[in-house]
């Protein structure tokens, strides 16, 4: 069955409605134990209470602040390291295997070492965010640069671009599609790492609310914060990085205009 493109969104909305409805019906039919697995209504109510008691907003703000600062540092340092890797074979050979190795490490695995290094301070959360996302950004940047069509570099050289200006005027712009893909992946990994670190190291933030929910045996809060975490992650992925990526791919001639 061929569904017209513009109708797909109704199917998506229908799917989620069905998912939530099934969940609610299972609850009403007592197929799940309510103290272990709450209903969508209970979850929504709990989130509403958290928001009304002014717990939710400061935590969301704190998480986004940490993510913003940590990810900005990771992205800038990752870009510079990626640029060095992309332009120097020696640097690339040394760092590539190291970063690929680090990338296989689950984000949460950085939490114990950050506790050892930084104790319970916020610095440790930044550390986890940076270490989770930096390798992805660096590798994507270096891949992007080493795959720049040679013609761009030749054109730039003959048009009198001095060597020091090549990275900013040609290499980074030419590698932008790959860099944005790396930033998108890096953001997801940073989000994993940040929330994992907040579980253990913080007294505010989405991760902290998740942890508190478990401490208080409040399943509604646990599920509610999980849903929020997923929603925020998804929104940024789709509507910030996804849209930028799509625009760049069209502009660079890698994708057709929708």
């Amino acid at each position: 069955m061929q569904v017209p493109e513009q109708n797909i969104k109704y199917y998506v909305i229908g799917f989620y409605f069905l998912l939530i409805a099934t969940w609610q019906v299972m609850f009403w039919a007592s197929l799940v134990l309510d103290y272990l697995f709450p209903s969508p209504l209970q979850v929504a109510t709990r989130l509403w209470e958290l928001a009304a008691d002014n717990y939710l907003w400061p935590s969301v703000k704190a998480t986004f602040q940490r993510m913003g600062i940590g990810f900005s540092i990771a992205a800038s340092v990752g870009l510079v390291i990626g640029l060095l890797m992309g332009t120097s074979r020696v640097v690339n050979s040394c760092l590539r295997s190291l970063f690929l190795g680090l990338q296989t490490l689950p984000s949460a695995a950085w939490v114990p070492v950050s506790l050892l290094l930084f104790g319970l301070s916020d610095k440790g959360i930044y550390f986890v965010i940076i270490m989770s996302s930096l390798p992805a950004v660096a590798i994507a940047t270096s891949d992007g640069i080493s795959h720049i069509p040679i013609i761009y570099l030749r054109v730039a050289r003959t048009l009198g671009t001095p060597g020091w200006a090549m990275p900013t005027r040609v290499m980074l712009p030419a590698a932008l599609p790959s860099i944005v893909t790396g930033l998108k992946l890096g953001w997801t990994l940073a989000w994993h790492g940040g929330v994992s670190a907040e579980l253990i190291k913080s007294s505010i933030g989405l991760g902290y609310l998740l942890y508190m929910g478990r401490e208080l045996n409040d399943a509604s809060q646990v599920i509610g914060i999980m849903v929020l975490t997923i929603l925020f992650g998804l929104l940024l992925d789709r509507f910030v990085f996804g849209l930028i990526q799509q625009r760049i791919r069209i502009r660079w001639g890698l994708a057709q205009q929708a």
Binding site: P149, I151, Y152, L159, G160, T161, A174, I250, R251, W252
Partner: protein
């Protein structure tokens, strides 16, 4: 037609050879080639693929170094790429992160370092020359193939190079667009009196565009003939006189006798 006697030599290639190492043995891509291109002359390197004509163009541009021999421009030995020899590439090579006029302005950064206004003005003139002045702010992906090639031409001309190098620029275009571009290129040549070296494997294109056509044979590449095209400009690609010259050019390629060696 201006005669050769009065004009100075612009570009001089002396005994250029190129060999590539391939494991234990070497591949000879170019046998000693010597060419003199006069100031304001339109010279075409014609030959089958693999005859070394593109290698020679890359050597002039400075992208490749000759194994032996020298290239001089205005009696100065050429070393590496430089904006006095700009190349119009087969795959235009326009920067997708810049729009049309920004691409043309790119090569003017050096000349008008702190004068963006002057850059824009000059870039506009060259966009007018290729009839694209109303597409200043268009992103590159929105242009057709022929328009892209014309922007690339404007970009290569804007920094006022001493020699324009053209590497098979039109193969991917349809016949109508090509015919238009042949006209544009000749108009620009007549207006700017720029020295141009163009590489092609199309005998008709060679006869239509060149003041002189050097016929290369492969491999290793060497020059078999040096043919003067005595036709007034603008020449039409479908003009029978152009066709006759194209036949002459082809006959030199097919004849077994080595005219040059």
């Amino acid at each position: 037609m201006p005669t050769t006697g009065s004009r100075p030599v612009k570009l001089k290639l002396t005994d250029i050879t190129k060999t590539y190492a391939n494991g234990s043995h070497t591949i000879e891509a170019l046998q000693p080639v010597s060419v003199e291109v006069l100031d304001g002359e339109f010279v075409v390197f014609f030959g089958p693929s693999g005859c070394g004509k593109s290698t020679l163009l890359n050597i002039i541009a400075g992208f490749e170094t000759p194994t032996e021999g020298t290239v001089t421009l205005d009696n100065q030995t050429v070393k590496g790429p430089h904006h006095d020899r700009l190349m119009l590439f087969q795959e235009h090579g326009l920067f997708p992160w810049l729009n049309v006029i920004e691409n043309v302005m790119y090569g003017l950064k050096r000349k008008f370092r702190f004068k963006p206004h002057a850059r824009r003005g000059t870039a506009r003139q060259f966009l007018q020359m290729v009839h694209l002045e109303q597409f200043e702010h268009t992103p590159i992906h929105a242009l057709s193939g022929g328009m892209k090639q014309r922007v690339a031409l404007a970009r290569a001309l804007a920094p006022d190079p001493k020699v324009l190098l053209v590497d098979e620029p039109f193969p991917a275009l349809d016949a109508l667009t090509r015919a238009k571009l042949y006209g544009d290129l000749q108009e620009i040549f007549m207006r700017t009196r720029k020295t141009i070296v163009l590489v092609t494997h199309d005998p008709r294109e060679a006869a239509c565009l060149g003041d002189r056509v050097l016929v290369f044979s492969g491999r290793p590449g060497k020059i078999k003939a040096d043919i003067r095209i005595d036709l007034p400009r603008l020449r039409e690609i479908n003009d029978p006189a152009v066709g006759a010259y194209a036949a002459t050019i082809l006959s030199h390629l097919e004849s077994p006798a080595d005219a040059g060696a």
